[in-house]
Assembly symmetry: C2
């Protein structure tokens, strides 16, 4: 993108922002506030950058006015939902205006006749789910951070998460968007209808655009009848190969699509489960799988859980635990959700990766990750959504290595990991996005002609490069 | 779009096309060939336009060379699959080059480990399905024209069809595309991975772009395990209101999502069923619904069929017929698929519309259609995919009216129908596309700012307006 030569936020601009949003919703002086909005969940201070001003609009009209002002004054605008992202997407790397949607947090409508919820972008995903449960409905997106992430962020990143094998990712459930464009128009794309071929699919161009093509101000979420039954099966294996071999087997010879198949290697599972004071045969375990199935018929769900358990046994599981009660099921998920926090606690120098390969390539990519860990003499715990080939390999700094060594080594390690992934027909992000963190690796998975398509779309919609600049697309060669 | 001032196809250009594709695959003289490629299934000669030359490339490289040539020489290129479209999308309205993908008809791979088929655009949809059946798999798209449509056309139009309530439309199953861009680059988007947030979702920008943003040369289709059981329930009602009231009831109080809910009004059902020599209580019937459910558990499928039958009875069905055998089920579908042909035979002056409304608005839109029919003193049979709110209202010329009257009246009638649809949160096309046929009505459902997004994307990717010009986007105001 051409323009990164922006103007600074002057007193006059601050005053106009205060006129738009109210002075209590514009912060430019308190360093604690600016620091809070300088980063997302990427644990690397070097990726952080404070904004010049944080604004918290309440309506689409206020968002549009801010974006129009930014276009007139040549100030970058970085939209932000909960800041729970993992690719630096919400980091204002050129300073300027940080636009937080946290005050746009209303569930506007739950339309049970059309099975659509209309929400603002600042609604916490779990809050929506809790409200839907009362109507016997659910939103099938299930990001691992659902307790604190916002639905607006889920849509901006096209979040995947734990239920994507069966239900698909966030985008499948987004049927309409009210969007403020990069030039400050308010547009309405899609809506409550379930089919629509009126022009290009702008809704799904916006989904996953990481705040670079528009700011969502209303989101139309497709709902499903909430399944009445679910079971979770935790299977422990002596080694990685046995565990991994069970993943495709459940779908092919088991002929069933579970809601989730989560993979956790020895380090990931043991550290998290021990931290939660769980008792498992830690000595002999090499890897763990967490399966979930759901449905409206208890017999079918239980039969499927049995099939899964049987296949795991056949593939060499050393222990199997089945949970049918909500509370027990959630206890299994707690282990899985604890992993990134444990890794973070273990080593502040680490990077959660998000590679995705065709499912049949899972054993091969896990083998490659082990080779890379050995070659670079560092730990790479692997956990994630094995059922859709999306693995969070997480290189950690070896405590015996210097920080300088880690920083030199990491780009090489990542490059090797990404190239192996690409070679297997995979790519560098399945659900966390490119943002700032992975931008410079895009050429490993896209040709210059393919990158040019991204550039052309971005320039066409945002000629001033005002909206979330410096993300996704590497500079021209 | 600016450019519609194209050059003509000269002898020199023909000679270059012959060099690219072989002279036997370039036709510019035989008027029968040119006529064959001058129209799709829109039954209106005024919408037809012969190309200057028909070319039939065999590979992505040949397609790219043709598009590059067209860019150099300023010749429009109109891509065409089977020509079974219903919006004039494949009509070469500025002449130039008609690019038929009919020779690119190979099923390249059925990858059972990754549940992905890789096919060329000229594969007949039913041929793919037959081949998949041998592997116990299926492609969940189910356009009504599957016996002759091509998968490339399904993707270009984002075809919906009979199974979309449960399975969604074509786009959901497209995980990757090899595309020749409007400027003649070959790009690879997505692939066999099931999750991907590497850059914008270009795959789904291409899906439904009606040949205006790219020509597909390879298509990665996601497969599902083929359901082992299905049942169809045909329910006849005394009046429209009772039938329509059963549609949302099945999904809300029945808590199940059928594979299909097809609506057929009295005229549609009776004409088609009589034509097929079926015996039904035609005297007393006002409307019919065809439900299908599928799954892997015979008990569950049969229970669901019973629930549907019970709800239909409760809503006043006068007769119900359940089919469990494939042959019987297909007999029901034959009636449904016969309808457009019967209407066409009945009156050459007619227009199959493709409006879609939120499902809860189905009764309201059906009432509006009846009012419009009365007001304009003409018949508007209604049939289509009631379960997703997508109704093929089909205005027919009243034989007592003059052709001139019909031609003056029709745009007014359509305008009224479209405005009522838009007012209910619906839009003018659910699955047939905009093409040339509906282009001039786009302003009824999209604002100028929304149309500008389409224009900007088209201009950015196709600066010379070479690829399928004159479709989808109305000229600037």
């Amino acid at each position: 993108m051409a323009n990164s030569d922006y103007a600074t936020v002057t007193e006059a601009i601050l005053s106009q922002l205060q006129d738009i949003c109210g002075s209590e919703n514009v912060a430019s002086e308190d360093p604690n506030v600016l620091r809070k909005y300088s980063h997302d969940q990427v644990p690397d201070d070097k990726q952080a950058r404070p904004p010049e001003v944080v604004v918290k609009p309440k309506s689409a009209e206020e968002v549009a006015a801010i974006v129009q002002l930014a276009n007139r004054e040549n100030i970058p605008v970085t939209p932000r939902a909960a800041g729970s992202g993992l690719s630096g997407g919400a980091v204002p790397i050129f300073g300027g205006i940080l636009l937080s949607v946290e005050r746009m947090d209303r569930i506007l409508e739950i339309d049970t006749a059309n099975l659509i919820a209309v929400v603002e972008p600042g609604v916490i995903t779990n809050r929506l789910d809790a409200e839907l449960a009362e109507h016997g409905l659910f939103f099938a997106g299930y990001p691992m951070s659902e307790e604190f992430c916002f639905i607006g962020g889920n849509v901006a990143e096209n979040a995947g998460g734990g239920r994507a094998i069966k239900y698909g990712v966030t985008g499948r459930y987004i049927h309409g968007l009210e969007v403020v464009t990069p030039t400050g128009d308010i547009v309405h794309l899609g809506g409550k209808r379930v089919k629509d071929v009126t022009g290009y699919d702008l809704v799904h161009l916006m989904v996953g655009s990481e705040g670079t093509l528009g700011i969502f101000t209303k989101i139309f979420v497709k709902l499903l009848p909430r399944p009445t039954h679910r079971t979770a099966t935790l299977a422990l294996f002596a080694d990685v190969e046995s565990a991994i071999s069970a993943v495709p087997a459940v779908m092919t010879s088991g002929k069933l699509i579970p809601t989730a198949i989560e993979y956790m290697d020895r380090f990931s599972f043991s550290s998290a489960a021990k931290d939660l004071k769980k008792d498992y045969p830690y000595e002999s375990l090499g890897a763990a799988l967490l399966f979930e199935v759901d449905g409206n018929n208890a017999d079918v769900v239980n039969t499927e859980a049995e099939i899964i358990s049987r296949i795991c046994k056949k593939k060499g599981a050393i222990a199997r635990y089945v949970a049918e009660q909500e509370k027990e099921i959630e206890e299994f998920w707690k282990i899985r959700k604890q992993i990134p926090w444990i890794i973070k606690r273990h080593s502040p120098q680490q990077t959660i990766e998000d590679i995705v390969v065709p499912i049949a390539e899972i054993p091969a990519i896990v083998a490659v990750i082990h080779e890379i860990a050995e070659k670079y003499d560092t730990m790479i715990p692997v956990f994630g959504h094995a059922g859709d080939g999306n693995l969070h390999a997480t290189p950690m700094k070896n405590p015996e290595h210097s920080l300088a060594h880690w920083e030199t080594m990491l780009p090489e390690l990542k490059r090797e990991l990404y190239l192996a992934t690409a070679h297997m027909g995979g790519t560098i992000s399945g659900e966390h996005g490119i943002g700032h963190k992975r931008k410079d690796y895009m050429r490993l998975v896209m040709s210059e002609a393919e990158l040019d398509l991204l550039r052309k779309i971005k320039s066409a919609l945002d000629p001033g490069n005002i909206l979330n600049p410096g993300k996704i697309i590497p500079d021209s060669a």
